[in-house]
Symmetry: C2
Subunit: 157 residues, 2 copies
């Protein structure tokens, strides 16, 4: 089976997308991250959910999470307000921190997808269509791929 | 809100759990990873889905994913058979590769949970009960936490 058939629709944001809207999308759709595309529809990077938290939580609290215990729910609301009037660009790590983006072509086989995920330790790959200017057509999660590769069986509760 | 209230049930495996069963659980429940506990119920590490693929895909193919294009579906079945008669212990990275495990106490506030996720770049934390020998009572995903922290709003399609 090719990546085209394994790919599922995935919300796509651009660096100009409102930061609050992007974070709310992660939350409401229970996603581990979002694909960030340029205005040309080509994948640019992935915004992991933990990166949103890195933007919200002051770095001195990240260095010593016990300090967060002293902050109340009102402080949480104030921190979240940082997302208003910010964009996805503000959430992204500085270029030096950008991981290489896991991308496969729509014609890649399931084992090629697996090899890319394995080598990049990634839970998600973006699927692009080379014949259509490398625009993103969807994404494949590691669980979706395993579901395709493995026989069905009993599940740990 | 404390980690106890945010925590959701999460399948727990031990190093002795059958590798195929663990992989099938990831697949069927669409999880990004599993919590691995010792026989004493204390969290030991997290098994990310990409680690299952690292076990299945030969390292020379990981180094050059294009090679996977030459393998057919029968080869995929043979690779998956490596999971039969293996255990979760076989899937785990060698100790040198183990990331520090993100864990919070049941009484941690939502901002403490956020600080731990942010500082460890983790999409998931295990929640333990200190008063019950640090046994795992569940887990919190980054999307679940954001859903609690953020106001509801429009969602990117």
């Amino acid at each position: 089976m090719t990546a085209r058939l394994l790919a599922q629709p995935f919300p796509i944001v651009t660096p100009e997308t409102d930061a609050m809207e992007a974070a709310q999308t992660l939350a409401a759709r229970r996603l581990p991250g979002l694909i960030v595309c340029g205005e040309d529809g080509r994948p640019y990077t992935i915004l992991p959910g933990s990166q949103v938290l890195r933007f919200l939580i002051p770095s001195y609290v990240q260095d010593d999470p016990a300090l967060a215990g002293a902050l109340d729910e009102q402080a949480a609301d104030e921190l979240c307000r940082k997302l208003v009037r910010s964009t996805v660009r503000d959430l992204l790590p500085k270029p030096a921190d950008l991981d290489e983006l896991p991308v496969v072509d729509a014609d890649a086989t399931s084992l090629e997808v697996a090899a890319v995920m394995a080598s990049m330790h990634s839970p998600l790959v973006a699927v692009v269509d080379e014949l259509d200017g490398n625009r993103v057509i969807g994404a494949i999660t590691v669980s979706r791929l395993l579901d395709h590769l493995l026989p069905a069986g009993p599940v740990v509760r």
